[in-house]
């Protein structure tokens, strides 16, 4: 009732709804006192005056008139006193404390064996609700347990726990204990983390159900997205303080952003991380095949080199045999296992008949190996064995080291017609050919002079060649061969000529082919031989960084996992010269960036020009990729790049086509889809976007393909949501159905490394201002965390005189006074 009344006179809901905490106050109470004290004398004075002036009126009516005047006086005094209401409400601001619960598949691995000290700590932190399991042997609990021996049965029991079981034990014991106490100081939020991140209410969810998901189609436990989880916590707590993120985990992060980066390490808004390792230092005995480095496309008869990386625990000194099987070909090598070391084993086989070949590599199971980890002993990869040999033309300026190594790479490649035709500018000049005669001399030496001659090659590689040799008519022929005939082109920049000596007026055709916009060439140095391009300042060398597109590009494919690919290529040695490229052209795809003091600039990029692909390598130090490993990555890049850009009969005609690379990815990882679409008359479509339908697990939505800028070409990155085969379809204007398959298969990352990553967790804690807490010390968390709930008294006020009711009373009293007077015929 009161609440309604207050609302009617304009008091806010917040105040009227909490009347118990509301007090009535006066802004100028002196007027209230004047009104209260003065109302009776004022009434008496009015009565006496009226008795004198209108004494003939009945006393009742005079009394009413006197009452009206006294009431107006009192009301005016009340208004002058300024009555208002105040709501005094104390509130608590609690910093967020997030608890990440790792429920990924690796948490099913054994947590133990633990040392006695660790066991004591675990018993202490978990025993409160475990008396039954412990058989009463450790029932006394509390800190008194510190010095007590752990009974053998309990020891066995805890040592047999999985990491998940240990986490459940901690939660069961502490959700009504430590975490409840913490909730008085912090806003404690729980998240479970697998491939995704989900907030959970551990007061309601059964702990046994923590690792159970309703829909297992997305393999929700097959990855650990610790970085995503930290990012989610930060996002959920925007505008709030975060006291810390406690992670109950084995520390193995397999997908998403790096936890350190997600926590904002090195920034002013770093979130303290408090990892609690759910397992001992001793991993279960295991030998794992953690990586395979092998090409994806090779010619028939090629000797394929495979590098298998093996890591083992608890099997130190044992001999393990790594076996390879590819069709009828086999190979094997033995390795003496070293505890925790990444050991690489080289295997090889000869590629068989054209088509898809399955390559199986396996480390023989060893006695004592944990049976749960045997799946990580083997891997299978698909290999495309190609049939036709490629015709390659190499036009180079001088025998720089990249050429000298590439020359050998080409000679070793059984998929390339031998001998490879090489036109070497310096060789011609060494024979006395004058600069102005270079173009003619090159043609005499066998360089094609027209489109048809260039079109006899599948791939043309242009090195650091001068425009004097690559005359405008030759450039035109190359452009047409690429554009119309689908010839693949690789342009590798060089400090003497390519591409800075090519001028927009005279050399437009070559510049049209480049997937980057050349910038102003760098400073011309006085040294005769350093001409242009860009060089690092103060000898702080450039570094190469793969882009997301580069990490899945066939030329850079060393491993199937793009993150791993990126890590490998980003570790390549630094270099000191690069093409001055300002930006990629619209429609071009940037594969690698140059990172240096001048910021990030395009380094390696590709684009379609008509029917042909053009790849630009913006530096001349790919030879440094040989460091320590020789040909492996150098050959891998160049051989795969040549095959990727090479003319493809599918792409050379007037028909639409669709392609996807890589052909096999892990669920949730991107694949690039390329579509060339023509209208019913064979002309490239100029739409902004097109849709490609997808059929496969999870009923995915159609993929929107965006125009690249080159007529007819569309591109998209797409991530298959689940394991399985996805068929991508497009029906073109002529009614032709185009289709390609993308296989999504799991990489079993969770079981690759069975250790609890204490080093990584300690680093994460150290860099973010948290601390690694062993489970037995988790009870100290409250003492270590900084921050407390802050009590804030919130005060709200509302005037209660300035409203319609006051006005109504005044007007009512006035009307009563005037009405009575008129009725009696008074003036």
């Amino acid at each position: 009732m009161t609440e309604t009344f207050l609302n009617l006179i304009g008091v806010t809901d917040e105040i009227s709804g909490q009347l118990d905490d509301v007090v009535l106050l006066w802004a100028r109470p002196v007027f209230l006192w004047i009104g209260l004290i003065g109302v009776l004398p004022v009434a008496a004075l009015v009565w006496l005056r009226q008795a004198h002036s209108i004494g003939h009126v009945r006393a009742l009516l005079r009394g009413i008139l006197t009452g009206c005047r006294a009431a107006v006086f009192l009301l005016l005094m009340i208004v002058l006193a300024g009555p208002y209401v105040r709501l005094e409400q104390p509130t608590e601001h609690k910093p967020v404390l997030a608890v990440l619960l790792d429920v990924s598949a690796s948490m099913d691995l054994p947590a133990g064996p633990f040392t006695t000290e660790e066991l004591r700590g675990i018993v202490r932190i978990t025993q409160m609700h475990r008396e039954g399991e412990a058989g009463g042997e450790a029932a006394e609990g509390g800190d008194g347990q510190r010095d007590a021996a752990v009974p053998p049965r309990l020891r066995r029991q805890v040592n047999n726990w999985s990491r998940l079981r240990l986490m459940q034990g901690v939660l069961a014991a502490q959700r009504e204990g430590m975490f409840k106490e913490l909730s008085e100081r912090f806003d404690v939020r729980f998240y479970r983390v697998g491939r995704g991140v989900e907030r959970v209410d551990i007061g309601r969810i059964s702990l046994d159900a923590l690792a159970r998901f309703d829909d297992d189609g997305d393999a929700p436990r097959d990855d650990t997205a610790l970085g995503d989880a930290i990012a989610r916590v930060r996002q959920d707590a925007v505008g709030r303080g975060i006291a810390g993120v406690v992670m109950l985990t084995d520390g193995r992060w397999t997908i998403g952003p790096e936890p350190l980066r997600a926590a904002g390490a090195g920034t002013s808004t770093v979130t303290p991380i408090w990892p609690v390792p759910m397992g001992s230092d001793t991993p279960p005995p295991d030998v794992a095949l953690v990586d395979l480095l092998m090409p994806t496309r090779v010619p028939r008869g090629e000797v394929v080199s495979v590098i298998a990386s093996v890591v083992s625990y608890g099997l130190d000194g044992q001999r393990a045999t790594v076996k390879l099987e590819a069709g009828e070909e086999t190979d094997e090598a033995e390795v003496v296992l070293q505890e925790g070391r990444r050991q690489e084993v080289s295997l090889s086989f000869t590629a068989g008949e054209p088509g898809i070949e399955l390559v199986r590599i396996e480390v023989e199971e060893l006695t004592g190996e944990d049976p749960r980890l045997r799946a990580n002993n083997r891997k299978t990869r698909t290999l495309h064995v190609e049939t036709d040999r490629l015709e390659v033309l190499l036009i180079e300026g001088y025998p720089r080291w990249d050429y000298r190594f590439l020359d050998y790479t080409l000679r070793r490649d059984r998929g390339i017609e031998q001998p490879v035709k090489v036109i070497m500018q310096s060789e011609l000049m060494g024979r006395g050919v004058k600069a102005e005669d270079l173009a003619d001399a090159a043609v005499e030496a066998g360089m094609p002079g027209d489109v048809e001659a260039f079109a006899e090659y599948d791939v043309v590689i242009l090195g650091d060649v001068s425009p004097l040799l690559l005359a405008p008519n030759v450039q035109s022929a190359i452009l047409e061969a690429v554009e119309e005939k689908g010839v693949g082109l690789i342009i590798q920049g060089g400090f003497k000529s390519m591409p800075h000596l090519y001028r927009p007026d005279a050399d437009a055709d070559l510049l049209r082919l480049l997937p980057v916009e050349p910038g102003e060439a760098g400073q011309r140095r006085p040294d005769a031989y350093v001409r242009t391009g860009i060089e690092p300042q103060d000898h702080a060398p450039f570094e190469m960084r793969l882009t997301a597109d580069g990490a899945i590009h066939p030329a850079f494919q060393a491993y199937t996992d793009p993150m791993h690919n990126r890590r490998v290529w980003d570790r390549m040695p630094p270099f000191y010269w690069a093409v001055a490229a300002e930006r990629t052209k619209p429609g071009a795809t940037l594969l690698a960036e140059l990172r240096g003091s001048e910021g990030d600039l395009p380094l390696i990029a590709e684009q379609f020009v008509g029917r042909g692909r053009v790849l630009m390598v913006g530096f001349d130090s790919t030879f440094t990729w040989r460091r320590n490993i020789g040909n492996v990555l150098f050959d891998r890049f160049w051989q795969q790049a040549i095959r990727h850009v090479a003319r493809d009969p599918q792409r050379s005609g007037e028909r639409s086509w669709i392609a996807v690379y890589p052909p096999e990815v892990e669920p949730g990882r991107p694949a690039a889809i390329e579509l060339f679409a023509v209208d019913d008359e064979g002309r490239p479509l100029r739409d902004d976007r097109l849709e490609v339908s997808v059929r496969g697990p999870g009923s995915p939505s159609p993929i929107t393909m965006t125009a690249t800028g080159e007529p007819g070409h569309f591109r998209a990155l797409w991530q298959p949501p689940r394991q399985g085969v996805y068929r991508l379809r497009y029906r073109d204007a002529a009614g032709r159905d185009l289709a390609t398959d993308l296989r999504a298969s799991d990489a079993d990352r969770e079981m690759r490394n069975p250790t609890v990553d204490r080093t990584g967790m300690a680093l994460l804690a150290d860099r973010t201002g948290g601390r690694l807490l062993e489970p037995g010390r988790l009870h100290r968390l409250g003492d270590l965390l900084e921050g407390d709930a802050v009590r804030v008294d919130r005060s709200m006020e509302d005037e209660i005189w300035d409203n319609w009711l006051t006005l109504l009373l005044l007007v009512g009293l006035y009307c009563l006074d005037v009405g009575v007077r008129r009725a009696m015929g008074l003036t």
Partner: protein, 323 residues
């Protein structure tokens, strides 16, 4: 084949970098390096190769001035006949010429100036002219007699020249292969000269490497020769010790030869040499001259450069030695 251990490689690179710093500190104003012989192009060329082998190519990076000065000094030393002639030659100027030609060819990859092209072609032409009728070379640029020790240096240079598309007659390489084959000793290993003396590890390593490189230049025929395996087996049987005569020469050629052979041979040999070098590098980055102190002298630039290029086999940067 087991790939190198990343930790070991980090130690190797650190050792090479310390050696290069040592060489930087000892380079002379004119671009040369001191040695017991004085200003000798053999030492100068090996020092230049040590920088190139770490990827410090002309005109770039922190050692650009060091490399450029060395390159100009060697270029200026060439005489009209094409010989990179030392100010203070040893008893065998062709040793120095072979090494200098190799260094110049490798440097040409990032210094592709016509003057250097002409210089290298002249140097190569001199090698072609001075090959004797057995197919080998000797101390002086005259086609009279020959020995394997000098021949291997010219073979490596000519191999690099072919790789860099300089004009080298196929016949020259075929005759060189004949000479090297003629030095094969029945017991395994290679003799110093055709039909004279017995084998020794340094010259056997040189013989194996030159045969490996030469087989790769032949238009036809096998890439393997039993003599190579026998020579490497002979080297493995011998005792690896710094008192061994021509110790640095052995390190340099044996590492390359075993690397070319690959497989278990390489896996067994390289840790011996690597571990010795890593354990015996002086704190200042140098290596002692050991049995070749008569060339290294007090400056130790000769032995330090050889130590660096021996370890650089792991980097795989020098095109001349690619497999």
């Amino acid at each position: 084949m087991h790939l190198p251990d990343p930790d070991e490689m980090a130690r190797v690179e650190a050792a090479v970098d310390r050696a290069l710093e040592y060489l930087v500190r000892h380079q002379q104003e004119d671009g040369s390096w001191p040695s017991a012989l004085g200003n000798n192009n053999g030492v100068n060329a090996v020092c230049l190769l040590a920088f190139l082998g770490r990827g410090h190519v002309p005109g770039r990076g922190p050692y650009r001035i060091v490399v450029d000065r060395s390159l100009r000094q060697l270029l200026a030393s060439q005489n009209d006949a094409g010989l990179y002639a030392s100010v203070d030659p040893s008893h065998g100027p062709m040793y120095e010429h072979g090494l200098a030609t190799l260094a110049m060819i490798e440097a040409y990859g990032y210094y592709p100036e016509p003057a250097l092209h002409r210089s290298i072609q002249k140097a190569v032409d001199l090698l072609v002219r001075t090959q004797n009728n057995q197919g080998g070379w000797r101390y002086h640029p005259r086609p009279r007699d020959a020995d394997l020790s000098v021949t291997v240096m010219q073979v490596v240079a000519l191999h690099a020249a072919m790789n860099a598309r300089f004009e080298v007659p196929d016949e020259t390489m075929a005759q060189a292969l004949d000479y090297v084959r003629a030095c094969v000793h029945d017991s395994g290993g290679f003799t110093y000269r055709v039909g004279s003396g017995g084998p020794a590890p340094p010259r056997s390593a040189a013989g194996a490497l030159s045969m490996q490189l030469l087989l790769g230049t032949q238009a036809e025929g096998e890439l393997e020769d039993p003599a190579i395996q026998q020579a490497l087996a002979y080297i493995e049987r011998s005792r690896y010790r710094p008192s061994q005569s021509h110790f640095w020469y052995l390190n340099y050629y044996s590492m390359q030869a075993f690397f070319q052979a690959g497989g278990e041979l390489w896996a067994r040999w390289h840790p011996r040499v690597r571990d010795f070098l890593l354990e015996n590098q002086n704190p200042d980055g140098s290596w002692d001259g050991y049995s070749e102190v008569r060339y290294a002298g007090d400056s130790k630039c000769y032995s330090t450069a050889f130590g660096a290029i021996t370890l650089q086999v792991y980097l795989h940067y020098l095109p001349a030695y690619q497999r």
